[in-house]
């Protein structure tokens, strides 16, 4: 799949066409962006079936909400990735809530066996070489806060509690980490085009 620069004319034009009810445009937008969205959802939810369900929900939302897409707020890719991330984290939280309350659901035998939890980032990193390459260029402390937030859906104060660090430190690391990542990814994008 060729990389699409965020906000490139084609994806913006496709969203406009989708907003007007163009099914072919939807099909093309899906082909262009679904692998990126699915990669992200899979990183949050290990269970492939749950991930496929979330992907379908996300793109159904794309079809329904395209008329409300506002290019001033960001690229269509960002619009999509934020939705995919939110939905995947929502699903992860509902799975965790179910685990935590431990009120035996009818399908408990199924849920207990399914590896739905957020995978250990270190384990996933092995089979996700490229994300690893980008994240590996961050200092460990910055990488950790971004992973906990983006792939596990922890809030800033939850991260502070988890790591036993002051909230202010977490905030600063998050900002510095994203800054650094922007530099790393920017270099890759330049070398790809």
């Amino acid at each position: 799949m060729p990389p699409v620069a965020p906000g490139s004319e084609s994806s913006t034009a496709l969203i406009a066409a989708i907003a007007a009810g163009d099914r072919d445009a939807f099909s093309r937008f899906y082909d262009l962006t679904a692998p990126m969205a699915f990669g992200l959802i899979r990183r949050v939810l290990r269970d492939p079936e749950a991930a496929a369900e979330v992907l379908q929900e996300v793109f159904w939302q794309v079809w329904q909400d395209a008329p409300r897409y506002d290019p001033k707020r960001g690229s269509p890719e960002a619009w999509l990735v934020m939705r995919a991330k939110t939905r995947a984290i929502d699903r992860l939280r509902s799975i965790r809530r179910r685990d935590r309350t431990f009120v035996a659901p009818v399908d408990e035998s199924v849920t207990q066996g399914s590896p739905d939890r957020a995978p250990d980032p270190a384990v996933v990193a092995e089979d996700r070489g490229l994300i690893q390459t980008a994240l590996a260029q961050l200092p460990e402390a910055q990488r950790r806060v971004i992973e906990l937030a983006f792939f596990e859906g922890l809030t800033q104060s939850e991260i502070a509690t988890r790591l036993g660090e002051p909230l202010g430190t977490v905030k600063t690391r998050t900002r510095l980490g994203l800054d650094r990542l922007r530099g790393v990814l920017g270099r890759e994008r330049l070398s790809a085009t």
Binding site: F26, G39, P67, T101, G129, T172
Partner: protein, 253 residues
């Protein structure tokens, strides 16, 4: 607010981890169209897009097939159109021929500004409603005379620990604990309800903050009528079906 602060808020917001007053403050900046906030958020989101794009994965073909089928079966009129204005376009357009496009363009941009503001308000109202519902559930439990309060005392691993369980057999309960040590990596505390001579039933897993305080909302436990005791043990992070670790707290009702 300086650049760094805005960048910090934007980074946390893009990652989905901004809460409370800071979230309200940042959303207000976005609503107001603050150029620094909008730019900072775009930068962060584009970075995260880059991160997602670095590890694409082909989705199963069935997903697209199902979507295309669902879309083909949806008449265009059923789709969620932007509230109010979009559905009025045909009317508005014909009127525009006479009234002059300029007026419509102004009206459109004003109404879309209000729509966005309204959307933000609706979302924040929904969040507040959800919060209110959970608070009301807690208050209802506290006010019910059938609610028992069980005091749990610390055992040898944490003699200073204390906890209270406000328990209502039909409505569930609220559990709060203090003075517990932070669980080691991969471990968490698990609360158990013990009824008669039956095996303990899990009432959930919780962890504690840096101050050693933790809490848990407990749903009613099906099949558990009268609880004689609550206990807390240290277990693997996801909890176990039966207690295996050391007991930290115990209280009889």
């Amino acid at each position: 607010m300086n650049r760094d602060e805005i960048d910090e808020l934007a980074a946390a917001y893009a990652l989905g981890g901004l809460e409370g007053e800071e979230r309200v403050r940042f959303e207000a900046l976005l609503e107001a169209g603050d150029p620094d906030a909008v730019r900072a958020l775009r930068d962060c989101e584009d970075t995260l897009v880059g991160l997602a794009a670095a590890a694409p994965e082909s989705p199963p073909p069935a997903v697209k097939a199902a979507l295309m089928e669902r879309i083909a079966a949806t008449p265009a009129s059923v789709r969620t159109l932007p509230r109010r204005s979009r559905a009025l376009w045909p009317v508005v357009l014909s009127g525009a021929m006479a009234a002059g496009l300029a007026a419509v363009v102004v009206g459109w941009s004003v109404s879309s500004t209000y729509e966005k503001r309204l959307d933000a308000l609706v979302q924040s109202a929904e969040r507040l409603r959800a919060e209110l519902r959970s608070q009301q559930a807690v208050i209802a439990i506290l006010r019910d005379p059938a609610t028992q309060v069980v005091v749990l005392a610390g055992l040898p691993p944490a003699p200073g620990a204390r906890a209270r369980m406000m328990w209502h057999a039909q409505a569930g309960g609220v559990f709060v604990a203090t003075g517990l040590p932070a669980p080691p990596d991969g471990k968490a505390y698990q609360l158990w309800a013990i009824a008669g001579s039956n095996a303990p039933v899990s009432a959930g897993v919780f962890t504690v903050d840096a101050a050693g305080t933790g809490s848990l909302a407990v749903r009613p436990l099906p099949g558990v009528a009268a609880v004689n005791a609550f206990a807390v043990t240290l277990e693997p992070a996801g909890g176990l079906p039966a207690p295996s670790g050391e007991m930290y707290l115990l209280g009889k009702s």
